[in-house]
Amino acid sequence: MTWDWNAVSDFMPYFWDGLVVSLQALLFGSLISFGLGLVWALLMRTPSRWVRWPVGVVTEFVRDTPLLVQLFFLFYVLPEWGLTFSALTTGVFAIGLHYSTYTMQVYRAGIEAVPVGQWEAATALNLPVRRTWTAVILPQAIRRVVPALGNYVIAMLKDTPILMAITVLELLGQARLFSQQHFQFTEPITVIGVAFIVISYPASLLIRALERRLVR
């Protein structure tokens, strides 16, 4: 087996196409998981158990089943019900939904870490419930959870190749496509492996720096 630099340069156009798709999936998947996770976390704090119970069951179910199974379900079963989305849209939604069941636990921990005295001060000042959440509790809770959310972004990045299973041409999909067309496997797979390290490692350093700054 020899390393062929020409194969690397031939692969690069595929690589850039794949990188754009991977980063799109990561960006929108992250946004969905951040938003939906917060919604779950807040719903789990409502007084009504008729809200908490279904939310708890659904999120537990999503958390405890494999992402790949969810992906196949959304991609192959939803169209039978007349719901058809592009492979990338389906993949982004699946990743976002799956990870929202983890980010909700991060938010929950962040909310519970806000001292009870903050709630009491808000009551003493007669702040409305909504305002207590938006002005007092969430700003403090979210500041604490930014590093933990960042760790899930890295985990999501490493899960994006799973989208290849539903025909999305992200980094791994492009590498496989190139390999099948050129019968060269070593170079494209190696290149995308390096790309994952090049993105993940600085990101984890950034998260550690944020952790030092934000979590005190």
């Binding site: 001060a121 003493a124 702040l127």
Partner: protein, 265 residues
């Protein structure tokens, strides 16, 4: 403090009715238990408008619980609480919110909002609860900060302040809501000794120059003697002795009071 200081001008001009010695706070047969521990035992007491009442007694005797009941941070197991003629408990949420506007509280641990500047801490509730225009709320906040000696700290974050400074901001924050009643829950207990005097001086000024009714839980007996119209001695969830500070501190009737004062003074 002279008669035209910001505090006097600001607070005497608010909507409070004149001090007429009428009953402002009333607890009837209030009982509060935490598990099997009865912290308030069939308690009756009332506070007249404009009076400064200090609650003293050993830890766990229920003093702080009274303040927390009035601030609606906890609910009684039995009994009724009335503030300014209106039921606080039991009462619908809307009525509770109206009564809460009349009550301000300063906490042992300050409980400032660390995500806001000092100025925002003070203006947040007047703007969002009372609907005060922001510029007016800020002008008032700056006056109140001047009053507590922190006019230069408006833009600071609470974490940049000393404990004594934080507590003075917390006092300004409570006053910004123009309460009729100020609840003070061991407000100097968490402070380094050298910072206590500054906070107590601010409270003495408020006691002397406003008509705000004060309910104060404290272990600072000199302060209690200075500002109080009435001192209540608590033990095991009951008031065992009450009277003017000269008598409670000078000539306590109850053996338990003598022991407590002997241990603390």
């Amino acid at each position: 403090m002279s008669a035209d200081t910001p505090l006097t001008k600001d607070l005497d001009a608010h909507a409070n009715p004149p001090v007429d010695g009428s009953e402002l706070i009333r607890l009837d047969h209030v009982t509060k238990r935490f598990g099997s521990n009865t912290v308030l035992d069939d308690l009756d007491f009332s506070v007249e408008s404009g009076k400064h009442v200090t609650l003293i007694g050993p830890s766990g005797s229920g003093k702080t619980t009274i303040l927390r009941l009035l601030m609606t941070l906890t609910e009684p197991d039995e009994g009724t609480i009335t503030v300014d003629g209106e039921r606080l408990y039991p009462a619908p949420e809307k009525q509770v919110r109206e009564i809460r506007k009349k009550i301000g509280m300063v906490f042992q641990q300050f409980n400032l909002f660390p995500n806001m500047t000092v100025l925002r801490n003070i203006t947040e509730a007047p703007v969002t609860v009372l609907g005060m225009p922001r510029d007016e709320a800020e002008a008032r906040a700056l006056e109140l900060l001047g009053l507590v000696g922190l006019a230069d700290k408006a833009g600071a974050r609470p974490t940049q302040l000393s404990g004594g400074q934080q507590q003075r901001v917390a006092i300004a924050r409570a006053l910004a809501m123009r309460p009729r009643v100020l609840l003070l829950d061991e407000v100097t207990s968490a402070l380094d000794p050298e910072l206590v005097a500054g906070v107590l001086d601010v409270l003495r000024d408020i006691a002397r120059t406003t008509d705000i009714t004060m309910l104060c839980v404290t272990h600072e007996m000199n302060f209690a003697r200075d500002i109080s119209d009435q001192v209540l001695m608590f033990d095991s969830g009951k008031v065992i002795e009450s009277g003017p500070p000269e008598r409670i501190f000078g000539d306590p009737e109850h053996q338990r009071t003598r022991e407590f004062l002997g241990a603390i003074l």
